[in-house]
Symmetry: C2
Subunit: 233 residues, 2 copies
Amino acid sequence: MARDAASSTIPAPASTEVPRPSDRRARRRQETIEEILDIAEEVMAEEGVNGLSLAEVARRLGVQPPSIYKYFDSLMAIFDALFLRGQVEHLAVMREAMASAEPGLGALTAGLEASGRWALGHRALAQLMFWRPVPSFEPTPEAFAVSAEMVALERAALADAVAAGELGPEADSDEAVYLLSTLIIGVLSQAMANEPDVDWGQGRFTPLFPKLMDLFARAYPLNSPGSKRRTLT
Amino acid sequence: MARDAASSTIPAPASTEVPRPSDRRARRRQETIEEILDIAEEVMAEEGVNGLSLAEVARRLGVQPPSIYKYFDSLMAIFDALFLRGQVEHLAVMREAMASAEPGLGALTAGLEASGRWALGHRALAQLMFWRPVPSFEPTPEAFAVSAEMVALERAALADAVAAGELGPEADSDEAVYLLSTLIIGVLSQAMANEPDVDWGQGRFTPLFPKLMDLFARAYPLNSPGSKRRTLT
DNA sequence: CAGGTTTAGCTATGAGTATTAGCTTATTCT
DNA sequence: AGAATAAGCTAATACTCATAGCTAAACCTG
């Protein structure tokens, strides 16, 4: 239909209309890719991580299943793209929350709470990212870089907290980051497994978060009197 | 093969050998059921929770796929049975570890460490039990009862710890149980997602466990001086 | 021990999945 | 305008879970 519209409405003569020639094509392609990912995320949200089916995505996109392969090599490639997209989005949310809070412990708390809120709001995606439901796929090096950046963010906030005198010097360590992420992941695991329908701040587990932050702070006290109470450096 | 062994080796005359007549049939059936579950667990351990395939189980059992349906209504029923079996086994392991330790905090620590060890040794099963990879299956009421018993175990140990003066009185609460399980689940989540091949005690996360128990204890201090430092009752 | 019932296996079939191959048609470049 | 590319399609393969219906063995009962 309207197959000769291009030659009539778009005056081909010179390069006066659009800068790059094949730009449109690439843009539409990218749009389709994003649309596929949107649908995939939607399907995963409804049916769970494993409920993601290439056929269902094709159905909702209004296309035959093999057509998807023009955009993704396999179902796994879609998982991969979702993984990366989720990580980028999660990082942005976290970064923003940390930026609009007091540097140090405040930023840390705000960032982790935002992280938790985001995870509960994107459960399937979070599950894909933070647990490993399918052992057959390893995160791309690219995805790994994003993850490293998140660690760096937390590490910086910890350094701020130490500098501000909110935490003892040993809090500026990898161990502290692991401890921190372990705490938040614990809350999220419990919430997602046992209370699939409650939001952040509700239920039995997410309200424990402030207490956990309190415990974390107590793990790295300012004054180590006699420095006898080590923290398993 | 050996199809008439029964009539020749087992003297039928009176009810002298085996009480119930059809007992053998039921026993063999039960044996097959257990064998199927063993194989299923094995497959899940190799291929991940979602790698469990009815066809593969049948293949390893040396039988055609439809024959499995004589023993289980569906693949989900197998998941259900594995879930229950895992919970029972896990509970037993935990109970035993707690029994052979000092009552109170010692038992609690021993029980949780045993729990973590078991989970890392039965990763796929643990994932099925403690996370919820498939949203379509709800734990049976029966399974829920086992879970409740585990909570009761921890609750009792907490009460012991309070009685022994190891923890403040507020540790004898549901909240404390939630806190405790959140801590251990956090460690396990991190270990399973990020270090799929390391055992308990190795890697970046499980060594945090003692510190976490320490933090937990500090959350319920004995002397609440002025009782001002509440613990979010 | 003979006859009927239950059980455990089978084959055949249907609907669903991911994926590949190869064709057609529309779009875009030269 | 004609060549090249991209995006869709249909057809086919090889899996998956699941159901239906059959056969034969095991078992129970009169």
